[in-house]
């Protein structure tokens, strides 16, 4: 027994090293930079600056970074909800399709992920521009042109496109594993299709929904490039702010913002997990 435990611990060493080097150490650095000033002496100044800094927008005094953060959160939540609404039925259809179909659909979902996301974002620019493919298509159909590029909608479209697979895959994998007998049992006990979905499939898929939401919400809150390209730089998001400070060599304030964002996301995830745990007992989510 001890020999086994020893070898398994030995096998873990490279991963432990990897985790320490690339996860723990950077986090410690982020925290360290966030809580120090340029001379590396301890200070809360960067943290308080995030919450108190003001600037004037359209003649009104606003909390600059709180506003940016609020905007990021809003767009991220909208994108996540859209991803969920689009992704859940897709995952459901996929999980119930024949094995061949499942493979094809999986490949179709994966292929865009093989392309660099900058390129994908540029592709959306050419699609959404005022003289772009979408508007060209609309005018051929005799419909009016739409102005999308540079609006929040364009940013949301970009994020949904980029992050949809991260919503579909975890939900799909949990649905594909679901015991078909449970669905038959529900039908047997009087549920129609809607009832089966509502009373069995949905509650059992909640752990998948939770990880999908996590995997979409977190990168969308901290996204930065999509907003610059598709929002024409008009929608400064928290990711852009961090990048901006970093590029301006303001490492300590950049780290402070990253640190605060991280803490807020951790709290949000913990709360979500608690809520779903209440609904999914007996399942694996606990």
């Amino acid at each position: 027994m001890t020999g086994n435990a020893k070898t398994s611990r030995g096998a873990l060493t490279p991963y432990a090293l990897w985790a320490a080097l690339f996860i723990v150490v950077p986090l410690v650095f982020v925290a360290y930079y966030a809580l120090t000033d340029n001379e590396f002496s301890f200070t809360f100044e960067n943290i308080t600056r995030f919450f108190t800094a003001t600037s004037s927008v359209d003649g009104r005094e606003v909390h600059t970074y709180l506003l940016i953060f609020w905007r990021s959160l809003k767009l991220a939540v909208i994108s996540t909800v859209i991803c969920l609404v689009l992704g859940y039925p897709l995952a459901y259809v996929m999980a119930r399709a024949s094995e061949r179909r499942q493979k094809i659909m999986m490949i179709l979902i994966m292929i865009p992920m093989w392309m660099n996301f900058l390129i994908r974002t540029y592709a959306w620019m050419t699609i959404l521009q005022d003289t772009g493919i979408l508007n060209g298509f609309l005018s051929v159909l005799g419909l009016g042109r739409v102005h999308i590029i540079g609006t929040e909608s364009a940013v949301v479209i970009g994020m949904v496109y980029d992050y949809l697979p991260y919503m579909v895959l975890p939900i799909y994998s949990i649905m594909a594993k679901m015991d078909i007998k449970l669905l038959e049992a529900a039908r047997d006990l009087g549920c129609n299709s809607v009832g089966v979905l509502r009373r069995v499939i949905f509650p059992l898929s909640l752990p998948g929904v939770l990880s999908g939401v996590t995997m979409v919400l977190i990168p969308s809150v901290s996204t930065f490039y999509i907003s610059q390209k598709l929002g024409n730089g008009k929608f400064f998001l928290i990711g852009d702010a961090i990048e901006g400070q970093y590029v301006a060599n303001n490492l300590h304030f950049a780290a402070a913002m990253a640190f605060i964002l991280m803490v807020i996301l951790l709290v949000v995830m913990a709360v979500m997990k608690r809520i779903t745990n209440h609904r999914v007992y007996g399942g694996k989510a606990a």
Partner: protein, 374 residues
């Protein structure tokens, strides 16, 4: 008795492979009916057609006089106890049992009463708020039964429900299921490949093989009067011999002419003769109708299982008398211990007991369960 379900000429195939071949079966109210057969015989498919999970390619399913081929499962007054229970892991015991009532929007108070009543019927009072994943196999089984019975279906389908339980528990559950069936008066349709289970529990047994019904009858009928070599071999142990019917009440096999109680066969008609191992008497060699050498003796507790070589055919005999290996013995068979069957496609498929081994028999069982048809 009132017919509750009629299957008329039901055929079903999957991917070009025939699973059910013109099944005709009447199921009566209040009856405990067992579909018995080896894996792949079509018993589970038959059950799924009644439950509404499969539609027959041909034929009609009649439920209380009405054709229900196209009625979906959730609208049938039939509930199922699934092979591996299929309890909802996200719901506790109470909610699992209450599931059908919640769907029917039954008032809260009534749900509580009925669930508690059901839980006490299956002896799980006090388990209401436990997680189903924390229950033992036997307890999960009871939850599944309570859940299937709470909406008072006309018919309860049970798909090898005892397969996953150990022997002792299985015996207890057999008694209990029988008791529940009597108490509720609901028709039970029970699927199993375990002939002993079928014999102890059923009012009617339907023996199936290769998508066809081989015999329908009471357990006693099926055991004493098997219709063909398949049924004789599948139910209990039997010595199946080639014989010739000389005339009414006289049959010749193993080189001896026996008196029997069967008639109505043509003169000189070749037949299959069944002699059950417990119906053979061992007598001194000189007094035997048949003579042979003992090749093996196995102590089984209540009796010995003796294999006797008679002219190259290995007989199995169950006896409480001790005989020794290599002993020369005589066998005596009473007329009513001999059962004559018409020749069928199964004739000659089941040899003697020359390669018989109890262990081998049991070893091959778990595999069969696993590859049960979907």
């Amino acid at each position: 008795m009132k017919k509750i379900i009629e299957l008329k000429n039901i055929s079903k195939s999957f991917d070009g492979e025939t699973v059910l071949d013109s099944i005709n079966l009447d199921i009566y109210d209040n009856e405990f009916l067992t579909l018995l057969g080896p894996s792949g015989c079509g018993k589970t498919t038959t059950l799924r057609i009644i439950g509404g999970f499969e539609t027959p390619d041909e034929g009609d399913v009649i439920f209380m006089g009405e054709k229900i081929n196209d009625i979906p499962a959730h609208k049938r007054s039939v509930n199922t106890v699934f092979q591996k229970y299929a309890l909802f892991p996200h719901l506790n015991v109470f909610e699992n049992v209450a599931f059908p009532l919640r769907e029917r929007k039954v008032p809260k108070k009534e749900i509580e009463e009925k669930v508690n009543e059901m839980l006490s019927l299956v002896m799980l009072s006090g388990f209401a708020h436990r997680r189903v994943t924390s229950l033992s196999g036997g307890q999960q089984q009871r939850v599944a039964i309570a859940r299937a019975l709470i909406a008072h279906p006309k018919v309860l389908l049970l798909d090898e429900p005892l397969g996953a339980l150990d022997l002792k528990l299985r015996k207890d559950m057999q008694q209990e299921l029988k008791k529940i069936q009597k108490a509720t008066g609901i028709t039970f349709i029970f699927v199993t490949h375990d002939q002993e289970e079928a014999l102890t529990m059923s009012d009617t047994i339907v023996v199936m093989s290769e998508g066809r019904i081989q015999q329908i009858g009471t357990p006693v009928d099926i055991y004493n009067e098997p219709q063909n070599a398949f049924v004789a071999d599948f139910i209990g142990e039997s010595n199946i011999l080639d014989g010739v019917m000389l005339e009414d009440l006289r049959v010749r096999f193993s080189g001896h002419t026996f008196r029997c109680v069967d008639k109505g066969f043509a003169s000189q008609e070749p037949v299959d003769v069944v002699v059950r191992p417990e119906d053979v008497d061992i007598v001194p060699e000189a007094q035997g109708m048949l003579r042979g050498v003992v090749t093996s003796v196995t102590f089984m507790g209540v009796h010995y299982e003796v294999i006797v070589d008679i002219g190259g055919f290995k007989w199995m005999i169950q006896t409480t008398d001790f005989v020794d290996v290599d002993e020369h013995i005589g066998l005596s068979i009473d007329p009513d211990a001999i059962h004559i069957m018409k020749k069928s496609e199964y004739s000659g498929l089941y040899g003697d007991y020359s390669s018989f081994s109890n262990e081998l028999d049991e070893l091959s069982q778990p595999d069969e369960e696993e590859e049960e048809e979907e």
